[in-house]
């Protein structure tokens, strides 16, 4: 779902552990410290799994086609609310990449998203009217579905306003990527969320649900992303881009987290901790090389700024379901509602994955 997870405070009520800036990250803690940390994280993971198990009662199956899932299929997990104008292209984009089945939780849509989804032959749909926030922003529901259906599959967990781009994605399906990752001994794949925006005010233009939203949202910020690592789970903490400079210039720490780990070879023991930004066990967060080299990574084109954004932001502010401390983000929603122009002198027009790689926003790593 759009706009969420700006802080990790939800995951760590006691406050964030300190983050390592560039040049400050040390190796994994060894000895007793390391063992204690591992135990703590294990307990945290078990707690998350338990929450997911309990939350299964909140889900009502609308249509369950999971019997179609074959071994080796790449699955896509998704939690939505009123995304009818994004879903047709979202499904087409990821189907073309090789997603074989979509497992979707619909959080009380009123715009016909549910009908649209249940008409697709490769979608299984569950519905719930329960609180999005109380379900860790939908993660409890998805964790349950992943536990139940994702085990042994490569699972792509996305929001409806994200389009995955990875090296060679125009010529190689996801199965080629996952095969390469398996050969490399990697179980997870990192991506940077890149906010895409139009040339004028965000409310203008009228791309249809079947159009490629990137034709309208053609621009992005190419080189203003801030990178840190949170040493506790070794997960990245990347912020920046259009939203950070336009809405959080006075409070950059609160700017949305942009790194995600959307593609994971799932085991029922795995659990996302904070949206798709971090997972447990912590080795899955190691989507980056620490030896100076580059691993293979991708980007998620973020189509949040489609014309409906202004009304939607007003509604989201009122619902207060999107942030752990929603009051802090009131100004953010107000600025979104005020129909901002995000395009500025440094904006770059999107041309494809090779451009993203040349800019250093993603990498082929050693993949040829």
């Amino acid at each position: 779902m759009a706009s969420r997870g700006a802080t990790t405070r939800g995951a760590f009520p006691g406050g964030l552990p300190h983050a390592s800036a560039i040049g400050e990250l040390e190796d994994w803690p060894k000895g007793l410290t390391g063992a204690l940390l591992a135990l703590k994280l294990r307990a945290r993971r078990q707690q998350l799994l338990l929450r997911a198990l309990r939350s299964r009662r909140e889900l009502t199956p609308v249509i369950d086609r999971t019997a179609q899932i074959a071994p080796g299929d790449v699955l896509c997990f998704l939690c939505i609310r009123n995304e009818a104008h994004r879903l047709p292209h979202f499904l087409r984009h990821h189907r073309a990449l090789g997603v074989k089945h979509f497992l979707v939780v619909d959080n009380a849509s009123t715009d016909g998203s549910d009908r649209l989804l249940s008409d697709q032959s490769d979608v299984s749909l569950w519905q719930t009217g329960a609180s999005y926030k109380a379900s860790r922003f939908g993660m409890d529901w998805l964790t349950w579905l992943q536990m139940r259906h994702g085990h042994g599959h490569w699972c792509l967990t996305l929001d409806a306003d994200e389009l995955l781009v990875y090296p060679y994605c125009q010529t190689r399906p996801l199965q080629a990527l996952t095969g390469w990752l398996e050969v490399q001994g990697r179980d997870s794949f990192g991506a940077l969320t890149v906010d895409m925006y139009p040339e004028g005010p965000v409310s203008q233009g009228a791309p249809g649900p079947d159009d490629d939203p990137i034709r309208h949202l053609a621009y992005f910020d190419p080189g203003n992303y801030q990178v840190q690592v949170q040493p506790r789970m070794r997960n990245l903490w990347v912020q920046g881009g259009a939203r950070a400079r336009a809405f959080f210039a006075d409070a950059p720490r609160r700017a949305p987290t942009l790194n995600k780990t959307p593609l994971v070879r799932w085991h029922w023991r795995h659990a996302y901790v904070n949206s798709m930004h971090s997972l447990l066990p912590p080795r899955l967060n190691q989507v980056y090389a620490t030896d100076g080299g580059e691993l293979t990574s991708g980007v998620l084109l973020h189509t949040k700024f489609l014309p409906g954004i202004t009304d939607r932001s007003a509604e989201e502010k009122q619902r207060g379901e999107h942030f752990a401390d929603a009051a802090q983000y009131a100004a953010y929603f107000d600025r979104l509602t005020a129909d901002p122009v995000l395009h500025w002198a440094a904006s770059t027009r999107y041309t494809g994955w090779r451009q993203m790689e040349a800019l250093g926003l993603m990498s082929r790593g050693g993949w040829i």
């Binding site: 560039i22 992303y225 580059e294 250093g360 040829i368």
Partner: protein, 570 residues
Amino acid sequence: MTPPNHRMGVVMLCHAALDRAAQLARHWAMHGCPVVIHVDAKTPQDQFDGLQTALHDLPDIRFSPRSPCEWGSFGIVQATLDACAVMLAEFPQVTHVFLASGSCLPIRPVGALQAQLANHPDTDFIESVTTADVGWTVGGLNEERFTLRFPFSWKRQRRLFDGYVTLQRALRFRRRMPEGLVPHLGSQWWCLTRPTLQAILSHPDRPGIDRYFRRVWIPDESYFQSLVRQVSSRIESRSLTLSKFDYQGRPHVFYDDHLHLLRQTDAFVARKIWPQADLLYRTFLTPDGDRALASEPSPGKINRLFAKAVERRVKGRPGLYMQSRFPIRARGGTQSAAPYGVFSGFSDLFRDFHPWLERALDARVHGHLFAFDRVEFAGGESIFKGGLSDSPTLRDYNPRSFLTNLIWNTRGETQCFQFGPTDEQDIAPFIASDPNATIFAITGAFAVPLWRSGRTAAEVRPAAARLQKVESDFLAELTGPEAKARVRFWSLTEFIENPAEPLEQLVDLLNPRAAHRATDLPQLLPLSGFGSFLQDLRNQGMAPVLMGDFPSDAELAQPEQPFARPRIVR
């Protein structure tokens, strides 16, 4: 067509994607090559049956007895030996045996390969290199492949594998090699002549040799490669199969978008081909009718491409910090993408330092990038390349990302900026430990603007003391144990004695190519009166030390216009 006295047979080792294997076997057979197929014992029986059914109409296809083939074990060699025995016994007309896998795709016409063999009837094409000359082995196991024992599976029993290697090293254990055997390594994929293969199969000491190789690590890369040296009359040490490995020795896979690349190789067969690469299979497995080659082979280009991928994976792009590259402190975590210059004190002493520096260095010269109130980008811009904003809050949230982004975004253009004790200092440790930074500092110059502000010594004393403390801390950072930056500093006194020389030095250091460029020097501010200002500060109880022993006004032999005439730097 190939002369009947030169006929090539193909031994295929298969374990998965048997539909592709069937396609390949059919292709070989249709081009007059008898095929013997070995299928891994672990492959499900129904798949094997399917393969047999798919090929039942072809008379020149045989199946050798199925045995298990685990990676890195002797099983692969055993399977090869068995299949070769079947080939030599069943097809007496075969003069060469080509070893291929179920994912080896012929990328040039089979006729061309047959012609190559007909032209070299006695040559064994097998890569065979002594262990001392091998550059590709990974994990430090090279000669030890032959001198240690490897009873454990590397894939399934890694701990036992590693532990046993360590133990043997500690005990200085060494195996004795069979008589006359000189270890050689090379690609698993070869093409041998019938006499050579016959000699290996009927080697007098074959049981002993097999027993030895059963405990060698990855014998499929050394068994034939070593034995061939004993029995062959003519070896051409190269493989006819294009096979690329990543830096950890795992094979690269070819996809549809490699079509153009594969057409440029000088190899006859390529592996591994991704089973779903429909376009490649369709293109190369069309009945070729001795299809013309699309382009001249240029294997150098392919090698460069793969070398570049290894470099990207192992070294990455220095100065880039992103979601798949974040070096730890010990591994170059404090490095930017390109050299840059940091100037401290210069703009306090010279009226037109920025334009001068821009001309002299042909670089982008920023003001105080880390000023408290605003990021002073060159030309007073509010947005800089890549989308960096002049908001100090955004910058100070993560100053290291700010600087590395700035340097990364402007690759190809040298960046310079002013930095002094009046600036936000959080970035100082990073600059000091960045080998790409060159720092020029005139220590104590911070006092000149204070003096010029017209305020009395008593008024500016607290500020002067604070700035001096900040600057000393910065200097300590620059000379500390973690410092890797190139640093030149002069006290204010040293500097004004002969300003031209330091300026020439910095031009030389940052832009060596500009050595012969004619340029004037910037205009030094008149400093008469500064000496008494320093004395006033002393009288107020502060100890201004960073300026050096600044001359009194009477001693200050500073000409009114120090560099009125244009001068040539160097």
